[in-house]
């Protein structure tokens, strides 16, 4: 039996140890091999101990992904400094796509897996807070561009515009994650797909 944890700082350390072990399994062997028992085995504790630190498996996975998504939003904050709104939109889409492709398992868990309605409440990330939520950042910059009058005049809903841009980039990334390795598909280069999606959508949304 491992030495017991009493002090709060040791408790936090074990919490991080659990998350690191889970991340390792999650990233390297996919979501399928992330079982409570296996995480516990990796760090030399019993499975039940994990339940003293996370209410259930989903909360553990959520905590795992939260940290990385805060990192995404943090990287986006640098992009938000770009002065030109349209260049900023381009950079946001690119940054978002690169993140998705570099963290396919996180991405899958967050955006490709239906959750029961309440499950989203356990995340630490404040939705709509531009400091933490990448979509909120996109929405904000689209709103700025919208106010500057760069979009076609028949487009009157900036939320709809932002959601369309998001859906476009998400479509390319999620197809790549789900079906990128299928031999029967002759996929074009992934960067070319991302680039064309971005440019075609912008051409179709911006004033001529």
């Amino acid at each position: 039996m491992p030495p017991k944890i009493k002090s709060p700082q040791d408790r936090e350390q074990l919490r991080l140890l659990i998350l690191d072990a889970a991340r390792c399994l999650f990233v390297e062997r996919g979501i399928g091999s992330v079982s409570m028992r296996e995480i516990a085995k990796q760090i030399g504790y019993s499975a039940t101990t994990l339940y003293n630190y996370f209410t259930d498996k989903e909360a553990l996975l959520q905590a795992l992904c939260d940290a990385d998504f805060l990192a995404l939003a943090s990287g986006m904050r640098a992009i938000m400094q770009i002065p030109d709104p349209i260049a900023r939109i381009r950079a946001l889409c690119q940054g978002y796509a690169q993140f998705a492709l570099q963290h396919p398992n996180h991405y899958r868990f967050m955006f490709m897996t239906p959750k029961t309605p309440t499950n989203m409440e356990i995340t630490q990330i404040e939705q709509g807070n531009t400091e933490q939520d990448a979509y909120a950042q996109l929405q904000q910059v689209v709103q700025t561009a919208f106010d500057a009058g760069v979009f076609r005049e028949d487009l009157q809903d900036s939320e709809l515009i932002a959601q369309t841009l998001w859906a476009g980039v998400h479509g390319v990334c999620s197809l790549e994650i789900a079906l990128g390795n299928e031999v029967w598909m002759q996929w074009a280069d992934i960067q070319a797909r991302i680039g064309l999606m971005q440019e075609a959508l912008l051409r179709g949304l911006l004033k001529a």
Copy 2:
């Protein structure tokens, strides 16, 4: 014990009975409640009997989805009769999206769930056969439009164009399926999202 099956036609009938029971659970209660034991219980057989008809659970689900995807491709064939290639592209995108939203569980299994490379080999659908594969139909009509010179001249890869259109519609549908019920997202109307994705992409891809 149910009466035993000997004749090939009875065998086929039981196969369909299994698939119907599985479809019922799959569509009504989601993929989570589709267990071999539960399917078997529903039709009054033991779980092991299912393994006489399908090699494993994934093969069963694959067979389940194949039938509906053949129906999709079949519906698409009517659309392929539309003379104008661009109107045909629009109708294909619309038909595809409506199918995805009407069969979210099928769609999820087919296009939102990573499969091991070999798993795709168990499908009955001939990929690339325009009679059976909806993507092949899209590719074909995009190629026709490409040959007619309707796309911008900097676009030289019709596969890339088709994949971008697919990814766009897929992005809208898969976000709707995965996150459409989240309370923290103020989604625009789903038909508006599909329509804008389609129109914006076409505007961005077609000659001015």
